[in-house]
């Protein structure tokens, strides 16, 4: 059926579509959110990178100024240097210590200045030797494996004396906590050494991790800035808009479905309306047909009455006029009374016709009662016989008795028989010849009781046969074509059937079958 095929009729299909839509939307949201977050991380990274680069450059500047200071006099002004270094460290907390070392001609490294003071006695860093190996003025970073959280920046200074300045830097101070976003993991590394933030790269709960990595713009300390931003599923998916979308789309889908169903039902109801209209048109036509049948049978009845009454009236009129003349002065009393007798006879005949007609037309609701169809055939035959013999037609009866009873309206059945007999008589009258017979036979056909009305007329031609019971179909010049149609209606009303039997060259034959009542089986037992 058409109405089953359209989408969204089933809520399951609707929900499937909805889930799909929401999934696509969520995917788009994630992509969008991630790329936005990525841009954020990138922006943050660039900002931090700029800060980092500036700060590490500051170390170079300090080294340069300290180098200038230590070379300002010979011997280096240790006290001034200390003061300057102390000042630097006060402002730059990430610088943990500043040392100025000298390598004596006998290859011994001595500490000229060490800030803070407690550093003086401490162990000389292992890389100090290396600093002196640097070119004059060159600065280089060092990381001690056992203290990876710090790094050192050593600069070779002095021309006559061999001097070295070493800064110890806390990388955690390179970026202040305020500068870091709390959600981001920021790590700094220098070459292979991780200076800060050695947390695992991927946090287990994270939906995705956005990264930023760039070494600081510095030749001396290319501190790598790494940023990792774990993005939770919640953040990536942005549940509020997704939920809003889900809700909205669900509503929209249901609204769409509702609209479609409405439209569909409107169409459906239109179809129903059209169907109902069609049905009412058919009903109307049926009513018209029934009316036509009624009018026709009334007309037939009227013309039948007129025809039947014409004969006795003609006789009565002529005979009365004859009687008037016979009752005159030179009348003949014997012939007069003969005429009057005949008049009485004719008047009675007319009365009889009228009585028969009254019985026939006594219209009433179909009253089905158990009847013996043989009796009905008998009655119909009795009524028809006089007319038939007048027309030179013999009526033969072959009645089976006893006969199981059938549930039917005797008057209606008699009407059917009357119609069939009249048709047969009309057909017989059209042909010449001595053998004009109508045979009515009743017989028990098991489940049904049957009446066969056959004649010796010209029969029914094969082309007429299929249309025989059609209303308004007729082969008679003046017929309306409703007689057999009415017969069929009446017989079918009683639950029976009527059919014409094709017997080419043998005259017409009609078979009426009515369901036999079950009582006969009881009676038989």
């Amino acid at each position: 059926m058409i109405r089953r095929t359209f989408a969204f009729r089933s809520v399951a299909a609707l929900l499937l579509v909805w889930v799909g839509l929401v999934a696509v939307f969520a995917m788009l949201m994630i992509r969008n959110n991630l790329s936005r977050a990525d841009a954020e991380v990138e922006a943050e990274g660039v900002a931090l990178h700029r800060l980092l680069s500036q700060r590490v450059a500051q170390h170079d500047a300090h080294l340069t100024s300290l180098a200038a200071l230590v070379q300002a006099s010979d011997p280096p002004p240790a006290e001034t240097v200390r003061q300057v270094a102390t000042g630097i460290m006060r402002y730059y907390r990430r610088i943990l210590s500043i040392r100025v070392l000298e390598m004596t001609p006998d290859q011994v490294i001595e500490t000229l200045v060490a800030v803070p003071g407690e550093m003086e006695g401490t162990v000389m860093p292992r890389f100090a030797q290396l600093v002196f190996g640097q070119r004059a003025g060159e600065a280089r970073y060092y990381v001690e494996a056992d203290r990876p959280e710090h790094y050192f920046l050593g600069k070779r200074a002095g021309s006559d004396r061999r001097l070295a300045i070493i800064l110890e830097i806390d990388p955690n101070g390179l970026l202040t906590p305020e500068e870091r976003l709390s959600s981001d993991r920021i790590s700094l590394s220098l070459g292979p050494f991780a200076l800060t933030g050695s947390a695992p790269a991927v946090e287990p709960g994270a939906f995705a991790t956005l990264t930023f990595f760039r070494p600081a713009d510095s030749t001396t300390q290319p501190v790598n800035l790494g940023i990792e931003r774990p993005v939770s599923f919640y953040k990536a998916v942005a549940p509020v808009p997704v939920a809003a979308f889900a809700l909205f789309s669900l509503l929209a889908l249901f609204a769409g479905r509702y609209t479609l169903i409405q439209r569909h039902e409107a169409r459906h109801s239109q179809q129903l309306a059209a169907l109902a209209e069609e049905r009412s048109r058919l009903l109307e036509r049926e009513t018209q047909l029934a009316h036509a049948a009624r009018v026709n049978s009334l007309g037939e009845l009227a013309s039948g009455i007129a025809h039947e009454l014409t004969q006795p009236l003609t006789a009565l009129l002529s005979q009365s006029q004859a009687a008037l003349r016979l009752s005159g002065p030179d009348g003949d009393p014997a012939r007069l009374s003969e005429a009057l007798d005949a008049n009485v006879r004719e008047a009675r005949r007319a009365g009889e016709i009228l009585r028969r007609m009254r019985d026939y037309i006594a219209r009433r609701a179909s009253e089905r009662t158990p009847i013996d169809i043989t009796d009905v055939v008998d009655d119909a035959a009795t009524l028809a016989r006089a007319d038939l013999s007048r027309r030179g037609i013999t009526l033969e009866l072959d009645l089976e008795r006893p006969m199981p009873r059938a549930n039917a309206d005797p008057v209606e059945l008699e009407q059917v028989l009357h119609n069939l007999i009249r048709n047969a008589a009309d057909s017989l009258e059209e042909r010449d010849g001595p053998d004009k017979r109508i045979l009515i036979r009743t017989f028990d056909a098991g489940e049904t009781v049957a009446i066969r009305v056959s004649d010796t007329g010209k029969g029914i031609s094969a082309d007429v046969l299929p249309r025989l019971f059609e209303p308004f179909f007729t082969t008679k010049n003046e017929g309306m074509g409703l007689g057999l149609s009415l017969c069929a209606t009446l017989v079918e009303r009683a639950g029976g059937t009527i059919e014409a039997e094709a017997r080419p060259g043998q005259g017409a034959s009609f078979l009426i079958s009515l369901p036999a009542l079950a009582e006969r089986r009881l009676a038989a037992q």
Binding site: T310, P312, A315, S318, Q319, A322, R391, E429
Partner: protein, 206 residues
Amino acid sequence: MSAPRIYLVDDDAAVRQALTLLLSTYGMTVEAFADPETFLAHVDPERPGCLLLDLRMPMISGIQLKEKLAARGIDWPAVMITGHGDVNACRRAFRAGVVDFLTKPVDEQVLLDALGTAARALDALMERREAASLLASLTEREREVLDMVCRGWATKEIAAALSVSPRTIDAHRANIAEKLGTCSVADFVRMTLNSRVLGSSTDSAR
């Protein structure tokens, strides 16, 4: 005009009886038959009469009856009475030789008028018949002479036209007068015209 013989064909015994009785009170001789077949079996061309026909199927039976009668040289006038509605249809289908169509029940006077008309028609028919048969007894020469007499020619003129002596023409005229039973020129003319009317009416009926 003597009371004509009436041949009544009606399938209803009561109607037959009543009409027979009524018409007999007017001194008419009525011979009644139940159907066309019986009538045809008994009809005698030598006993002419008016037909009073009540046919159940007027068109078909009427035309058939008319054809069968014509086959026997009978074209007596007929009055149709019918209980069937469409008289006009009957009239159209069965016009020739039918003087009137009446519907049942038929009133005495109407019936008598129609039968009177039929009787007159029958008389005229018989007269024409007679004239025709008398004329038929003439020889070719006599007919020629009669023709000229009817045109008003004198004996001398006829003799001149036929290149015979006037005496011969006189002999022909005497023979003609004997055969036709009259010596009046007016009678000659009437008989000749009648016979022509008969001929032409027979032609048109065919």
